[in-house]
Symmetry: D3
């Protein structure tokens, strides 16, 4: 099966390389992967404004993927920009990193906390949980004081500190990494650090692993989103022009 | 006070004229109004796809309004495309027709029904109520079998029929018109028809009246959205270019 | 338009004067205002008991307002005593300060906190939010240690302290003043103090401004409460006698 | 133990006699019962207006009961007028027929329907369930076309018809009688009629039995309402005068 | 009336004696009580695993009680293991200590906290509240650091400390003892300690008193669970063998 | 990877064969599968009573699987009997067919309906959705009039009829098969029949495919349930004896 990962930000070698690295490690060896970013958008996604700008090109990239006979698409951003609109335009599964991560978190315990970057993202994360219908088990959203571009393994101490506070003060029993793109397995590092501190395993959900797992599962089972929930728009729109940025091989 | 109405669809004389007519009738005589539509988008908004396409230009139009010293903006579409992203970018009040109409409906009874055009819009309407935090009193969404472009006073029989069914079968006590742009006061006509049929007054909320009333109220009271809820995006984005379509005078 | 403000406490020159001052400043210049208090009730409203006592006379005052051809009534108390019963008896809009303030708070952010006077009022405030169907975004209710009669601009430090705690500890992004009647613009003072402390604007909703704005908006749009939600009581009750206290001019 | 039943309507021999009959049959033989009605109110309670009028005198009757060393009070009306305010003023248990009936209904199944008199009471019943925090299992409220004064055993066919519809169409598995005061055991008759029709027992909760059972249980266990939830009002109110109507022996 | 208390753990003289002591003090003098424990299960119930093991024998004991013409059964454990399955198999009322305690807590205030033993029980308690449909008023679950077997009057300091924290930090106005079996009236001791500390009465609900009160009330009113909610299983199961442990007289 | 499917009913060649057939078709070719049923339980699971009986042996089978170095377990029944207790006892992923199916349904649309066998199962299904925290999007549960043992491809007409009613009358956009064990791909047949009738694809989720997909995904990503949510029971229980029925090869 062939899965296309749409990185919904302006093309940069660095970001696409990190996505490729993370997804390649997480995917099954027989899953073919391809990557695109977008030509019109922003460099990172940290606000509802950024998400709004990213949507048209992200949808276009997913429409193109379907006409390329790709089996499923992943939107490689926790906020899932464009996922709902794209589901209307295509029949192949479209998986957002955010909704995938929240489903795994919801499944693995009774109360999850999202660790995000920068306080300003907190409302977006809460909206995500509400929009996915999964806020019943959301205990809190906590931020580490870094921007998306500065988020790296060096931030793991802050991630662990906020995760411990989530478990102790907010009653969380599962942690969700609300940001990806570091190229390293931050979630696994944080999970083992947490287990050492707490004496019990508290899962740390990595959106990349959640998304690829769900995308592979949907393709394998032949399931895809409802066309009653995401109806195909009625009118053709030849007047609209799209541009997207294919990642170099 | 000067309020700008952003019609988040591709410019057409007809649509802007209808909006101008409706808003002029609904606004206070001392409220100055101006109208813009957008250069890049779709001709009507009937899907999440359409909303995604409309967002970048709608936001741009609102940013421009603030730099023109406009006092408040209205997004003239029930789905409020771009409203959340725009609130991040500006400090002036931004009122969506949908959220305004739902607040009035919520206030005037215990259980409201939205009458929308075409069945395919039903999920969008339910999401609106959920996103606005006002779904607790939503009893149902019902569709009349017309597209946005065909929606006119001739459809009032269908609107009344669905409204009566909402009251009798779904327990609704308030009706919300989920579509505007007919240029006539459909809500008032439907309300008096309903009162004749039911023997009691069931309010029919007109999104145009709700939006202009709320926008005027916010400007008058000096209230505007929270910058904690809608934080200004941290990074400048000089690389991004906007184009919008000013409506001819 | 003529709006009558019903102050649902025993008449005192001082309280009516403060209400007159606050409402006159908040209303449009062309809105005519009149004020009444009640003859049978309590001196302040700080409990469910006080609210129960205030209801019959408040309703009577609103019924009288309608027969005086007044356009809308405001119940000048956060607990909205008598508003539901009055809506059954009249057709003109009846706006409670509490429900008006909560609607504005709900609209301006994702999570609001009510600042009230005395801890004992906290359950009443939570019930208000629940009764209005707006508790989904209520993050907390916090009290300042003053009674209604001692609540004045001198309390602003406590209001700011509790508001900051609400933002930092409870995740609030909007503040609602849960008490009025100080005669000064406490909300505006608190809002600017908060902005200095936090560096971003967190709106502080003043129930007086919210109520007058909503009442004016309902009269202008011709909307009023549903008679399906608030049915006119079926039996006449000639045996029941009311008395109310008109405020001296 | 001595329990006082407050009938929150204007005194009539007939209504008090019916209450006495119903409560005497439902109470334990060693429970002493006394009955009062009120001097200022309405003849029946069928609206929020009626409830508002009944509250001051009902509270006064409960305060008087406590000073008479009564062990607990029951408010003999499904809408529980005055119960919340009275709980603030006294320490003895105060049980409303409505909240008692809803607790039993909630306990005995997963989904209950309230059968009330006249359609206009439907919003009041829904508010009751919400106010009691028990709306999660409320499936519907259905009305039979009679006023409170005409509600008698002759209405049982309509009660059964609406109950069957509740079970079949609304998914109800428990029925609550939303009106009492017929002097006969309407609930028991309806329950056996329902069992004959459905082939399985669907409990029909009688508010009188629920209220007396709960009141007796609270007295026996020494439990009463929280003074943190219902704080004693802080200021004395010597200026306020009450009058109530003791039922003749 | 005769009520049977099923202690859903392996028989031990000590546990059954404590249950007998607590229930005898709480029951009416004319209520006959009998006690059984189970032959196949665990020594205490502190996990979902323990509850799973206890269920078959608990159900069997309740089925046996009905064939012994017992009037009602109580499951003497906060987690109510087997109660739902037993309700399907019998027509007599089955009352769990947990659901009884939560109903009383829900009734007496607006916000309750459960005090349980050991942190590991916290998820079970939250599930109980959710399963009973009573989580809307659950403010928190707090643990004291003791196992069920070590829980005695000596732990009352910890219970009071956690209860005070619940009132002050979590907004609780009612406390529920999440563990019984100490043989002493821990709830009453804690309630008077709390009143001394807080200056107002915060009820502390004892599950034993709640359960016996509710069981007596159901028998007296003739109410029992819905057979629509708990349908009798369709197929006979002669192949299944039960064993239970009758408590020695 | 090796996944063990626990069929939580008394061993029968027929049922185990059907499970083997269904799971083998749904699993990846490189997934090793083994099957066990239980020695002490019932022949089918159609009630809360049946689920209670199945739990001890199901948990034992899962504990045994972990000590056999199996990678994950599936509970092959929509009610997931024993899954919660088993998660406390083991560290390997435990996936119930019900929770897996509900997660896929929740993901693929906004509103799902469960089609179950026999009306008496309806409360169990609603409880499942509530217990999994996924009831926000549950629109209805509908039954087809067959027992588990009679459920076969011959029932597909009834399944389609109820599914169409769910879409048209209840607003469903996704269907979940609430029963498995037919040995044929009922979901796929129903999905294509539905698409022919409705003209749009409404996904029909097959619990077997959902469960195997999720189990494979959890093993691949290294994620498993939280030990904070499902703590290992503290005391050893050597006194407890288990017996289970290995399926013949």
């Amino acid at each position: 099966m062939h899965i296309r990962v749409v990185v919904p930000v302006l093309y940069s070698d660095e970001l696409v390389e990190k996505a490729r690295e993370e997804y390649t490690k997480a995917a099954r060896p027989d899953t073919e992967l391809s990557f695109v970013s977008i030509l019109n958008g922003t460099q990172t996604i940290e606000s509802q404004f950024d998400m709004a700008l990213a949507q048209p090109e992200t949808i276009r990239a997913i429409v193109e993927a379907e006409s390329d006979d790709i089996d499923a698409c992943i939107v490689a951003c926790f906020g899932d920009p464009g996922a709902a609109g794209a589901k209307e335009m295509v029949s192949i599964p479209v998986v957002g990193e955010g909704e995938a991560a929240l489903h795994f978190a919801h499944l693995l315990g009774y109360s999850y906390t999202i660790i995000t970057v920068e306080e300003t993202s907190i409302p977006i994360m809460k909206n995500m949980a509400r929009f996915c219908g999964l806020s019943e088990r959301l205990s809190s959203v906590r931020a580490v004081p870094f921007g998306v571009m500065d988020f790296s393994l060096a931030c793991v101490d802050d991630v662990v500190r906020q995760s411990l506070a989530a478990v102790k003060d907010d009653g969380a029993d599962v942690i969700v990494m609300g940001c990806t793109g570091t190229g390293v397995d931050m979630a696994a590092v944080a999970e083992s650090r947490l287990e050492m501190e707490l004496g019990v395993r508290v899962p740390v959900v990595d959106p990349v692993k959640a998304a690829i797992s769900l995308a592979q599962g949907l393709v394998a089972t032949g399931l895809t989103h409802s066309k009653k929930a995401y109806p195909t728009p009625v009118r053709a729109r030849p007047e609209y022009e799209y541009h997207s940025a294919p990642a170099p091989d």
